[in-house]
């Protein structure tokens, strides 16, 4: 299937309608579906949430765009509903949290490898090692609070070991701001990458802020508070790589193109046939939204959308285990720290810097992420299980 971002018109908005039965469909199976089906559902919920939030911000600043934005946004809202309601009710908030971190790790790893701009790729690798550590901390929490195995969700695709320690990730705001790409020079894929990862991080922050207080355990409440704070930093980081000189309309077009790109990536790799048809349908819907945004861009800015859109979609996001890449990044870059927009070895961080005093204050009465994972080594079946020999099948036969 070839997509032309500059010409395809997709399904017209007038035909993008839903009823409640269509919106609330049978969820994927937590037990039987592939972990990457869950990863795609979580990611696309974030992408739709970003579309809706952007639409609201844009409408607040642009009188003449309010009506078309409201119309597109209504469809986006229902798309988000349908997608998010694919999460099954037997998946607890903590299990969903593990899935959110798997999204952050594996999708960011794919984006980092697909990013042509070396500085931006570095930004993604930097964030990746932090999300990777969050996964380790939440897995320890799941094991030690509930006696449950995060690998039931991860399905062995993603390592559960420490990354850049979460306790070290707390930075002063000035150390979370990066240098933005130049909209006139940056590749389209760089813009779509930025919006994709921004969306994923923003939804994680929102999610943790909602479900953190639903836990009764003080350790869990502290850990969610701590990691939600880092997600806020990540949102700060990723929005700062986007060129603020892009116009509102340019940003709208790029948002829609990003949604097309993401749905296309999902559709190409989905293993659940029923969910694949949803990705196909929503890809066509997004092409419809892109057509609306493109028309308004050309009408109001008197520019050709081809100036900002590539004819062809970039290589799809790879929904797969990026274990080898992540291990290399971990080995080489775990020691990097941010000083302003740059990344330096921890030994080169100036002795007096705003992040160290900020961190010291936050961790003054202990670090939840350190405490929850003290001495934690992930063992399939939880740390209470007998140590595995590393090959589940052999283990099973041995039993």
């Amino acid at each position: 299937m070839t997509i032309d971002l500059r010409k395809d018109t997709g399904v017209p908005l007038s035909r993008q309608t839903f009823n409640w039965r269509e919106l609330v469909q049978t969820p994927y199976s937590k037990l039987d579906d592939d972990a990457f089906t869950r990863v795609r559902v979580v990611l696309m919920n974030g992408i739709e949430a970003e579309a809706v939030n952007f639409g609201h911000s844009c409408a607040r600043m642009n009188q003449e765009l309010r009506r078309p934005l409201a119309e597109v946004r209504r469809a986006e809202h229902f798309q988000q509903t349908l997608v998010n309601w694919l999460n099954p009710p037997d998946q607890s908030p903590l299990e969903t949290t593990i899935a959110y971190e798997q999204v952050a790790v594996e999708v960011t790893a794919s984006v980092a490898q697909n990013e042509p701009d070396p500085y931006l790729a570095q930004v993604y690798r930097f964030g990746l090692l932090e999300d990777f550590d969050h996964l380790y901390r939440y897995s320890a929490l799941m094991d030690r609070l509930l006696g449950k195995d995060a690998n039931n969700i991860l399905q062995s695709y993603t390592d559960v070991v420490p990354g850049r320690p979460t306790s070290e990730e707390h930075r002063a705001p000035s150390d979370d701001l990066r240098t933005s790409y130049d909209a006139e020079k940056a590749a389209a894929v760089s813009k779509m990458n930025a919006l994709t990862i921004l969306a994923a991080e923003q939804q994680a922050q929102n999610y943790y802020m909602n479900i953190g207080p639903q836990h009764s355990d003080p350790v869990a409440r502290q850990l969610y508070a701590e990691i939600a704070a880092v997600k806020e930093q990540h949102v700060t980081q990723y929005e700062s790589i986007i060129d603020p000189k892009e116009s509102w309309l340019e940003k709208w077009v790029l948002h829609e193109a990003t949604e097309v790109y993401n749905y296309y990536s999902c559709m190409e790799q989905e293993t659940n046939p029923r969910i694949k048809t949803i990705w196909e349908q929503f890809l066509d819907y997004e092409l419809g939204h892109l057509a609306v945004a493109r028309d308004h861009f050309e009408k109001h800015e008197h520019r050709d959308a081809a100036e900002i859109l590539p004819a062809k979609l970039p290589n799809p996001i790879s929904f797969d285990s990026h274990r080898d890449f992540i291990r290399k990044v971990l080995q080489r870059e775990v020691d990097l720290r941010a000083v302003g927009p740059e990344f330096v070895a921890s030994s080169q961080v100036p002795a007096r810097n705003p992040s160290s005093s900020y961190r010291k204050r936050l961790n003054a009465d202990g670090s939840p992420s350190e405490m929850v994972a003290a001495g934690y080594r992930m063992n399939p079946g939880t740390e209470l299980s007998p140590e595995s020999k590393g090959d589940g099948q052999k283990e099973r036969r041995a039993r």
Binding site: T26, P27, K30, L31, D32, D33, D34, A35, P88, P89, D90, R144, N151, N152, I153, L154, Q155, S156, Y157, T158, D159, V160, V161, P162, S216, D217, P218, V219, Q222, S321, R323, R327, G366, P368, E370, M371, V372, A374, G375, Y376, R377, M378, N379, P380, G381, E383, L384, S388, K389, G390, D391, G392, Q393, K394, E395, R396
Partner: protein, 274 residues
């Protein structure tokens, strides 16, 4: 088959992906000094204990019109305990009615299994839960206490049993699986009625204790029925016989309940150890 557990593409265990599992384990092995020491976690948990409480029991709305016995009863330290336990039962019985509503919805689509419940039996249990709820409503009103209040014990039980409606109302669970949830509900019901009946006895409120013991007897029957349906269902789906499942209460056409005896199966030999 609709009540049976099937074998399929479950991907949650390490054996479903040996190559990835080996890699996962190799990475994990590089972490030195694994420890089960939860000292830090324990310290944080303990530091927060005594930092607050769930809430309180409301005082009686009015003492007007209450008999001398009740006024005496409501004086002193024991009153909030009794009110709390009454409210706990009221809240749980009310929820149990809704759990059985969910069971009926599922029953109508999926039906039962050999030896499983009939619709009338589920309806009967539901109606008894409703009766118990209303009885508690009357008890609380007669004590001048607000039966709509949510008290700490009611809150605790409802949080503890939060997963039950989640299982029963999930369209993907079958009636067997729903009865697993109901077994937990009925176990809890029985246990908490014992607590309340005992409290009424110890507080020398004999009439109330008598009423509660009658309810306790009914709840014992609920529990035994639920258990036997589940045992029979699980045994049937595994193709094995169930032992010792005798009693059932099926409402007769004249409205009176009658006791029926299910043919029990004698144990012929010890099951072989695996």
């Amino acid at each position: 088959m609709k009540h049976q557990t099937t074998m399929g593409m479950n991907r949650t265990g390490v054996a479903s992906s040996p190559r990835h599992a080996k890699a996962l384990y190799d990475a994990s092995k590089r972490i030195k000094k694994p420890s089960l020491d939860g000292h830090g976690i324990m310290q944080v948990r303990q530091a927060y204990v005594n930092g607050g409480e769930l809430g309180s029991v409301p005082p009686p709305a009015t003492l007007k019109g209450l008999g001398k016995t009740f006024i005496e009863l409501l004086k002193g330290e024991r009153a909030p305990v009794l009110i709390d336990r009454l409210c706990e039962r009221l809240s749980s019985e009310r929820s149990a009615v809704r759990l059985y509503d969910g069971m009926l919805a599922k029953y109508d689509v999926m039906g039962s299994w050999p030896g499983g419940p009939t619709r009338e039996e589920i309806e009967h249990l539901r109606s008894e839960e409703l009766e118990h709820f209303r009885q508690l409503h009357r008890e609380l009103e007669s004590m001048g206490t607000d039966p709509t209040a949510l008290t700490p014990a009611a809150d605790v039980t409802s949080v503890a049993l939060m997963g039950l409606p989640q299982v029963i109302s999930d369209p993907r669970t079958n009636l067997h699986q729903c009865f697993e949830a109901m077994l937990i509900a009925e176990q809890a019901d029985y246990g908490f009625w014992e607590v309340l009946a005992n409290l009424a006895v110890e507080m020398r409120h004999d009439e109330m204790a008598g009423r509660f013991h009658r309810i306790l007897a009914r709840e014992a029957r609920h529990l035994s029925l639920t258990k036997s349906w589940l045992v029979l269902g699980v045994s049937a789906s595994a193709g094995v016989r169930a032992f010792g499942q005798e009693l059932s209460v099926r409402p007769s056409t004249d409205g009176k309940r009658r006791r029926t005896t299910r043919k029990s199966t004698k144990r012929r030999s010890r099951p072989r150890a695996r």
